[in-house]
């Protein structure tokens, strides 16, 4: 106990010692200037500076790749023709294939319910109906009789010639060939009109009848 008291008094005595009489005074300012860079906040701010620098460098390094990817995304991809990826041609439907085609089952799920609601509807014996002729058959084919009949009705093409090329005249609805002009006028056309037409003819055409 006595030892503890002495120790405490000695401790207080020694703790109060802030310098020795003969020694040079402790330079607090110089020590503080040495301490300040080591302080936690300074370290934290320095760390932050390094983190920022690292982040900027990282962004600078990554940005070319990012821009490259973006330009790729904007530009359309080049068209690549791959024979293996080409779509299959549509199947050619012929009468043989139509005959081979299985009847398309049509499920009438609500048929029974409908029949219950309306007595007038005749219920088929089974729930499925078979459509034997698909609608595709309505499309005419080259060898179909429909095509043949239409080909027979189309008139053959004829050469279209202007009336002046031929040199004849039209009297009413009748075309008069030049060599028969006088004859036809004499037979069927009215005299006044025919004579006028004849008179209108150029002088190189003779008025004399050929026959």
């Amino acid at each position: 106990m006595e030892n503890e008291k002495r120790s405490n008094s000695l401790m207080d005595k020694m703790d109060g010692l802030s310098g020795l009489p003969g020694d040079a005074a402790f330079n607090r300012e110089a020590a503080w200037n040495r301490l300040q860079p080591r302080l936690p906040e300074q370290r934290a701010s320095r760390k932050m500076v390094w983190w920022w620098a690292a982040a900027v460098i990282l962004i600078l390094c990554i940005s070319p790749f990012l821009l490259k990817d973006r330009s790729r995304a904007v530009m359309p991809a080049p068209a690549l023709v791959n024979s293996t990826t080409l779509p299959k041609p549509a199947p050619v439907i012929t009468p043989d294939t139509i005959a081979q085609e299985k009847p398309v089952p049509v499920i009438l799920a609500k048929a029974k319910q409908v029949s219950k609601m309306t007595d007038a509807v005749v219920i088929p014996p089974s729930d499925t109906l078979a459509i034997t002729q698909p609608l595709v058959a309505a499309v005419p084919r080259q060898d179909s009789p429909l095509i043949q009949s239409t080909a027979a009705t189309i008139p053959p093409k004829k050469r279209v010639v202007h009336i002046n090329e031929v040199g004849g005249d039209v009297i009413g609805n009748t075309y008069i060939y030049p060599e028969h002009k006088q004859f036809k006028v004499a037979i069927s056309g009215p005299a006044g009109f025919a004579s006028q037409i004849v008179a209108d003819k150029p002088s190189n055409t003779s008025n004399l009848p050929k026959n």
């Binding site: 000695l10 401790m11 005595k13 010692l17 802030s18 020795l20 009489p21 607090r28 503080w32 302080l39």
Partner: protein
Amino acid sequence: MTEAEYIKEAKKGSSAAQKWLFDELSGRMLMVCRRYVRNEQDAEELMLDGFCKFYSSLSGLQYQGSAALFSWVKRIMINECLMFLRKKHTFVIVSEHVAETLALQEDILDNLSAAEIFNLVIQLPAGYRTVFNLYVIEGMNHGEIAALLGISEGTSKSQLSKAKSLLQKMLLQQNIEYGKRKTQQ
């Protein structure tokens, strides 16, 4: 502004408050470090390291008065010094049977001033000095010292005993020299 307010400001990272605390404590802390580490430059460096740790651990401090703050900072400084001494391997391990059992007079240190005790203590070898500081000045028991230094309690006791005998010799020498000086005058 009170010490508690300075502590609060220092916790927030105020450089002015930290400077004020440094000015208040650094002189005494340097003497604490010098008591353990004889070299002045090493002691100053250890004191700065201790202040760094003090500021970094300031957020966890609950201010309970000036004495508590001082003892807390002093403990940080002592730990820094002990770590330094451990790294340097300056502890002199003296086995118990070798240790002399020269008893130091109980009240002899009380009659000496702090500066005189300081000058005596820093002349002791590192091992003796450390145990003497921890036992006599800091008031630790041998169990605590043994745990702190990683030595056995017996070794701590023998180190203390050696330190006391050496101090006795030094005091006698000083008295003789003092007496000689007195007679010459």
